[in-house]
């Protein structure tokens, strides 16, 4: 039935190049030749990205999938897709749920759908971006499966779901257009109408029937988070000088209690879709939510919750939210219109205190009144507290403690017996752009849980004995403003080699980009002789102009004296040093991509080296990493005199990363090579993804200050330095080190394209 399986025994014995991969291969115990063919590639990618427990779970899951009796496809799909799923949603914790779903499918008549489910999982994850969202997706799929697997005659479920396979096939497309709530509605419609019409159900989930597309259009509304993510990122930076990870959540399932935005140490959490509301666009609603959370981060201080009643806490939150909004409006008055449009306007007589708990209602009115001068309410208590609030904030930002006092006074003043009633008035009391205020409270009893640290994968220490004797360099001690002489030992070696062909195929993969670059670089290529016209002094007479001048002279007009021309060899006399940070952090996956920073750097450096080689500028490439001041490694990848050939490509192909980043020493060592180049201009490019760090440097400023000093030394030597940082939060320390000479590449996936462009811009 399944093609491609050769003799079982053979594949199991397949020999892998790398002993670590061989061990993995034994662990998955797999007889499928097609899996064996791609195993090395998949697993080496995973080895770079996963910790050892994660690796173990990955292999264990793969092994399980290989033994389902469904051929190699499920296992293949999983091995290939899982690493990029993890990269997209930022973690492995969802694996048990995915496998649980696989088991459910396996036990049902739908086991054929396992492979399609796994095959599209990565594409779906790229769109969903968080484990919670992926869980929703799995739930929707499982719901579809349960409700469409055939039990027409009321007994055993024996018929597979007609639409499930197509659903998985369409899932990447659907998730691109719909929020999770939209997807759920779309699926629901299909189930409700075609549960008993297998053929029409297939058409529906294939998106072939008219109503299927119509429902899709109907559900496709609002502004999807994934479509405005960059705008929101720019918004945070430009208007609030802030930046953080934005993590979407779904509004699909909690119909009763809608999830509310919040933030924690992992990022700012926002819904996956926002409809326009009361004249405010979805995009502006996202911005309003972010502004409010940023306001809390800026101006709120947590309070100890233990001694306060729930009512008191609720009141404090309402008051503090208003204070935040008021301060935000002070910064940008236009926010007032947006906040007011999104803020409910409770009707004063809506809540009956005889039968209902009205505290929420009172607070929501007060909240309206605190930010809306035209609130129109008449309750004297409300008016008094509006005045007190205005006084408190008139001259200052006030603070959380002061506002809490005011809130408590308000609760005390307006307390009613009925506040205790079970029936609570909710209508018009939910303010959608405000977060859930979980950051406002500290609970003493609970105690801080220990952080569960993900065990870090470390390279085995001292992979090879250093070859040459070390060179010693000083390091700058900012405390005493002096150098510590011979403080750092730099060991120099040739970077190990891999297969040069890998780099050729990387270049082939980027052939379109390479073509574009070639055109750009060719423009810069020195034309041997350039004719300079309109010269006063020159090597030859420029006849046309000379005659014109002569005519002018004869006519008594002042002639142009610039009648000569000369030639100049258009020299681009630039020597370049590219210094690569090869520290451990490069092994991290880039969000939204299955590649690590290291792989992207490798592609970028290959393209750049190739292009610079065409241009003819002398180029050297070296990598560095450190493991305390006693062991800084400096690895040659390309020397100035070496051509861009197989030897260099082979070294690039074997690029790997580990240990820490002691930039200063590496820069000094590289400078010593660049200095000896006989070029007019000398450029040192430093590519790094994080701030300088090393295990023996406990004060993070030491290495930053030292690097800054090293850059100053470059300046004095006439070397122009420029840093390319892949850390979006780098501005602070990179400015300290490189001054204005740096570029942050926020979107690391574009590094292969950006690095050569940057080089061009720098040397044009």
């Amino acid at each position: 039935m399944i093609t491609g399986i050769r003799t079982v025994a053979d594949a199991r014995k397949q020999a892998m190049h790398d002993p670590r991969i061989q061990a993995c291969w034994l662990e998955v115990d797999c007889g499928f030749q097609p899996v064996a063919d791609v195993f090395e590639e998949c697993v080496s990618e995973a080895l770079n990205a996963f910790s050892s427990t994660q690796m173990h779970d990955y292999l264990e899951a793969a092994r399980f999938l290989g033994k389902l009796g469904r051929g190699p496809e499920p296992m293949l799909a999983f091995l290939e897709e899982w690493p990029s799923v993890v990269a997209s949603i930022g973690g492995c914790e969802i694996l048990p749920q995915v496998m649980a779903f696989v088991k459910v499918l396996q036990r049902s008549p739908n086991s054929k759908a396992i492979a399609p489910m796994l095959q599209t999982l990565a594409a779906v994850s790229r769109r969903l971006q968080s484990p919670g969202q992926l869980q929703f997706y799995l739930d929707i799929a499982q719901d579809l499966m349960t409700r469409t697997s055939g039990s027409i005659h009321g007994h055993h479920t024996t018929f597979p779901s007609p639409g499930l396979m197509d659903f998985f096939a369409q899932a990447p497309f659907l998730t691109r257009l719909l929020s999770m709530a939209g997807l759920k509605n779309w699926v629901d419609y299909g189930i409700r109408n075609y549960a008993n019409h297998p053929e029409r159900q297939v058409d529906y989930f294939k998106l072939q029937s008219a109503d299927s597309r119509a429902v899709l259009q109907r559900e496709r509304h609002g502004t999807l988070f994934a479509d405005v993510e960059r705008k929101l990122d720019l918004y945070l930076r430009a208007l609030w000088r802030d930046s953080d990870l934005l993590v979407p959540y779904s509004t699909a399932f909690d119909e009763l209690r809608q999830p509310v935005p919040y933030y924690d140490k992992l990022g700012l959490r926002v819904p996956d879709v926002f409809d326009d509301s009361n004249g405010v666009s979805g995009l502006d609603r996202y911005r309003a939510v972010l502004a409010h959370m940023i306001g809390h981060r800026r101006w709120s201080k947590p309070l100890i919750a233990d001694n306060w009643s729930p009512f008191q806490r609720m009141a404090v939150e309402f008051f503090e939210d208003c204070r935040i909004d008021t301060l935000l409006i002070r910064a940008y008055p236009g926010l007032q219109r947006i906040f007011l449009a999104l803020h409910p306007r409770p009707v004063e007589t809506d809540c009956d205190p005889q039968t209902t708990s009205c505290l929420r209602h009172r607070l929501a009115m007060l909240s309206r009144a605190l930010i809306d001068p035209e609130h129109g309410y008449t309750n004297p208590d409300l008016l008094e507290f509006v005045r007190r609030y205005r006084d408190l904030l008139a001259e200052s930002e006030a603070n959380t403690a002061a506002i809490a006092e005011l809130a408590l006074a308000y609760v005390a003043r307006t307390r009613r017996q009925s506040d205790q009633f079970a029936k609570v008035h909710f209508k018009d009391t939910v303010i959608g752009y405000r977060d859930d205020n979980r950051q406002m409270w500290q609970f003493i009893e609970e105690g801080d849980e220990e952080e569960a640290f993900d065990e870090k994968r470390r390279l085995e220490p001292a992979d090879s004995a250093p070859g040459l004797p070390p060179r010693h360099y000083p390091e700058w001690d900012y405390n005493s403003q002096t150098y510590r002489p011979d403080w750092v030992s730099v060991y120099e070696s040739l970077h190990p080699s891999g297969a040069a062909a890998d780099i050729d195929s990387l270049l082939a993969k980027h052939s379109a980009l390479a073509k574009r670059l070639k055109r750009l670089f060719d423009l810069l290529k020195p034309q041997d002789k350039v004719r300079l016209r309109h010269q006063e002094d020159g090597s030859e007479l420029d006849l046309d102009i000379a005659i014109r001048s002569l005519i002018d002279l004869r006519c008594g007009i002042t002639p142009d004296p610039r009648i000569n021309m000369s030639h100049r060899t258009d020299g681009r006399d630039i020597a370049v040093m590219l210094l690569l940070d090869l520290s451990e952090s490069l092994n991290q996956k880039v969000a939204g991509s299955s590649q690590t920073i290291l792989q992207l750097s490798q592609e970028a450096v290959s393209l750049l080296s190739w292009a610079v080689d065409r241009l003819g500028d002398p180029l050297a490439v070296a990598g560095f990493r450190s493991n305390t001041r006693h062991d800084v490694r400096y690895q040659h990848i390309k020397g100035y005199s070496e051509p861009w050939g197989d030897a260099v490509k082979a070294r690039l192909a074997a690029l790997d990363a580990g240990y820490s980043t002691r930039i200063g020493a590496a820069v000094r060592h590289a400078a010593h090579y660049l200095e000896n180049q006989k070029a007019d201009k000398k450029l040192m490019l430093v590519l790094t993804d994080g701030e300088p760090a090393d295990v023996d440097a406990h004060d993070p400023r030491t290495l930053i200050e030292d690097a800054r000093q090293a850059v100053k030394e470059l300046d004095a030597k006439g070397i122009y330095s420029h840093c390319i940082s892949l850390d979006p939060h780098a501005d602070d320390y990179v400015t300290q080190i490189f001054g204005k000479r740096f570029t942050v590449i926020d979107n690391v996936q574009r590094l292969p394209e950006r690095l050569p462009q940057l080089f061009l811009a720098l040397t044009k």
Partner: protein, 267 residues
């Protein structure tokens, strides 16, 4: 009118000091030390030099440098005339003769060989050799050389040689902090301080994106443009869009973000 009078700055230019730069410049001038003013585009470098010339009561010769500029453009050249040739001093020579402050604006734009002619003027010699005439000019005792330089270009081709840099005292300029910049925009254009403050807020949102999609922030000059338009009756949001956002970027997401900042700021 003598040549010297022709170059005098007659009306007091408005210049808002950001720190001690005025006193420091006076000290540098007293010692006739060459000065380099560094800073991003449109932050007030040229205005500062103009102001100092006025304050010191010295003539100011300004040269906007460009890629095609040659040494002759600075020093001077022979002109052919119907009845022979005539020597014409270049601006640098004029300045050296009459004792002016010579301001070479955007010196990095000029070709490298051009910058070398200023070297003898910047050290103790204070002389300018004119090869073509075989003349060696001693600079007038009031002469001073000032150059401007924008380090934000991020190109090593537009970087000054060490040997040039190390002949100058340097003044670092940057966009002024918010209250100062508000005053500058208000004074310069006569716009009300509230509106000026709003323009400054918007300007700063743009500067926050420097390095994240923008190469340079929104300059004080552009704020002044926007204020001028508003003063002339243009609707503030439109003025901001055409004077502060459209000139600096074509990136749609950045435009949308800055446009939003404009809407929020003008409420």
């Amino acid at each position: 009118m003598t040549v010297k009078e022709q170059y005098l700055v007659r009306n007091a230019p408005f210049y808002q000091a950001q720190g001690k730069e005025v006193e420091l410049f006076e000290a540098a001038y007293a010692a006739r030390l060459p000065v380099m003013v560094k800073g991003p585009t449109g932050c007030g470098k040229s205005r500062f030099v103009e102001y100092m010339a006025w304050k010191l009561g010295k003539p100011l010769v300004t040269v906007a440098c460009n890629e095609d500029m040659t040494a002759s453009d600075l020093v001077g050249r022979y002109l052919l005339e119907a009845n022979g040739t005539r020597w014409l001093d270049g601006p640098l020579t004029t300045a050296a003769r009459i004792g002016a402050i010579c301001y070479l604006d955007e010196i990095v734009e000029a070709r490298q060989d051009t910058t070398v002619v200023i070297h003898p003027l910047t050290d103790h010699r204070r002389t300018l050799p004119i090869d073509k005439k075989g003349e060696l000019i001693e600079a007038h005792r009031d002469f001073q050389l000032v150059i401007s330089y924008n380090p934000g270009y991020q190109s090593l081709m537009k970087d000054l040689k060490q040997s040039t840099k190390q002949r100058f005292t340097a003044f670092d300029f940057d966009y002024p902090e918010a209250t100062l910049e508000t005053q500058i925009v208000a004074r310069e254009t006569g716009i009300d301080p509230e509106t000026a403050a709003k323009l400054v807020t918007i300007g700063q949102t743009g500067r926050n994106l420097k390095g994240h999609g923008l190469d340079e922030g929104i300059s004080t000059r552009l704020l002044v443009y926007a204020a001028t338009l508003i003063k002339g009756g243009v609707e503030p949001r439109d003025a901001c869009r055409i004077a502060m956002v459209r000139p600096i970027t074509d990136d749609a997401d950045i435009r949308a973000t800055l446009d939003h900042a404009i809407d929020l700021t003008f409420g």
